[in-house]
């Protein structure tokens, strides 16, 4: 055996013995398919939808299970419930809209007991708030979405189901909320009078509920 061949064989053996490469610490985000929503009543209220970078898949919780970028589907929910929607990064970027809608991740959970003999169970909790032009709370609600896949199924699919479940519930609640409908009506009346009602203090501030008012 030549010396070169011996070295090559030794190198090959070392490669075989080498420990496996560590798994990626920041897994690639899965593309989230467009959310199909039913046709429900639409509020005639121009709103700014706040989608900050955390909801674009950059939060630790969203990254951990490759939940991906929620922005497109958050926007779909908003556009299905409001006649006019402009997406902004912060509430300060609002440009005259009568309301600011935000969604924030209140929690998420996953339980897939070891042994691969039980189902993947996931939950995604999103809290939505709508504040008026003065930052006063008009409406707030929280939606727990559930996802379940068999032990043979995809955990990513279970997460997607939970997110979609939560977003569909949010759409139903936004579209059917009597509080938002009443606010839209008041807002239109104020616009017609060209005299927005002055408000010195918020009756209820998002902070009163422990909410920041922005996602």
């Amino acid at each position: 055996m030549t010396r070169a061949r011996t070295i090559a064989l030794a190198a090959a053996s070392l490669l075989c013995l080498a420990p496996p490469a560590p798994r990626e610490t920041t897994p690639r985000l899965e593309p989230i398919p467009p959310l199909a929503l039913p046709t429900l009543p639409v509020h005639e209220l121009p709103i700014a939808l706040v989608i900050d970078e955390r909801m674009r898949g950059r939060s630790k919780a969203l990254r951990a299970y490759r939940m991906g970028d929620l922005a497109a589907n958050l926007e779909r929910v908003a556009r299905a419930a409001f006649a006019s929607v402009e997406v902004v990064e912060t509430a300060d970027d609002r440009d005259g809209q009568a309301g600011v809608l935000t969604a924030s991740l209140a929690g998420s959970g996953h339980a897939a007991p070891i042994g691969d003999v039980q189902d993947h169970r996931t939950a995604v909790v999103l809290t939505w708030t709508l504040v008026d032009g003065d930052g006063c709370l008009v409406w707030a609600d929280t939606f727990v979405g559930h996802g379940e896949q068999s032990w043979q199924g995809s955990v990513v699919r279970a997460w997607r189901d939970a997110i979609e479940d939560s977003l569909r519930a949010a759409h139903r609640a936004l579209a059917k909320s009597p509080d938002i409908a009443a606010y839209a009506q008041r807002s239109r009346a104020e616009n017609r009078a060209s005299q927005p009602a002055p408000s010195d203090d918020c009756p209820v501030d998002p902070g009163d509920l422990g909410l920041s008012g922005e996602s």
């Binding site: 420990p19 496996p20 490469a21 560590p22 798994r23 610490t25 955390r54 939060s59 630790k60 919780a61 951990a64 299970y65 924030s104 991740l105 209140a106 929690g107 998420s108 959970g109 996953h110 339980a111 897939a112 007991p113 070891i114 042994g115 691969d116 003999v117 039980q118 169970r121 939950a123 909790v125 809290t127 708030t129 709370l137 008009v138 409406w139 707030a140 609600d141 929280t142 727990v144 909320s177 009597p178 509080d179 918020c202 009756p203 209820v204 009163d208 509920l209 422990g210 909410l211």
Partner: protein, 241 residues
Amino acid sequence: MVVTQPVSVARTSLFRLRRRSLVALVAVALACSARQLEPAAPSPAIDALERVAVEDLEVAIVPLLDREAMRRRYGVDLLDEDVLGVIVIVRNAGAESVFLAPALVTIASGGGEPQGPVASPRIFATPALFPTNATSRVVAAVFDGDEGESAALTVLAAADPTLLTANKVNRDVAISRHALLLASLFPTTLAPGAEASGLVRLPYPEEVRGAPSQICVAALHSRSGERARACFSLAPDGPAP
């Protein structure tokens, strides 16, 4: 035709077979010992409870004092963590919507100042996270809010039993937190006639349990911001509305 394989390849196959068997055995053993929690029971109907009516609101509470029931349902005894779990049930019997949130629930123990709910991380120390690699995978994780996290890993091929046990504990903690997350009370708008319920975790250290406590649940009227508040006395040995 007879095919022979070199001895080294045969040994490798045997090793792989043994390793797979070991992994399967460990997996089956852990699966058998996997924590099984009771399905989360729905909150009791407010009509079946002793409730306080205040300004068009009907409010009832159920303090969780049965340690065994807590372990079965949530996998954890909250009292051991200096936390009193309280299921809060509110019905809006008025004509105006109200806001309800865990931040509006307080406890005053032993004549002290009212305190709001505890943040989740206080309940469980965040379990240690073991690095993932090709032989491990995350089996359970709970994120409280956006950034706080608790995750559990299992290392199926770990040779170190201590590591395996530690990760199983982490997994159990994550499953408990998952159960608590699903049971929680979240911020909501209660339309007229609507009802909401959920679990709120209040600070309840050992040293105040000998004295009576007062638990108050508030809701804010959406248009006026007025606060409606119902309070309950908690005797050292149980609730007394």
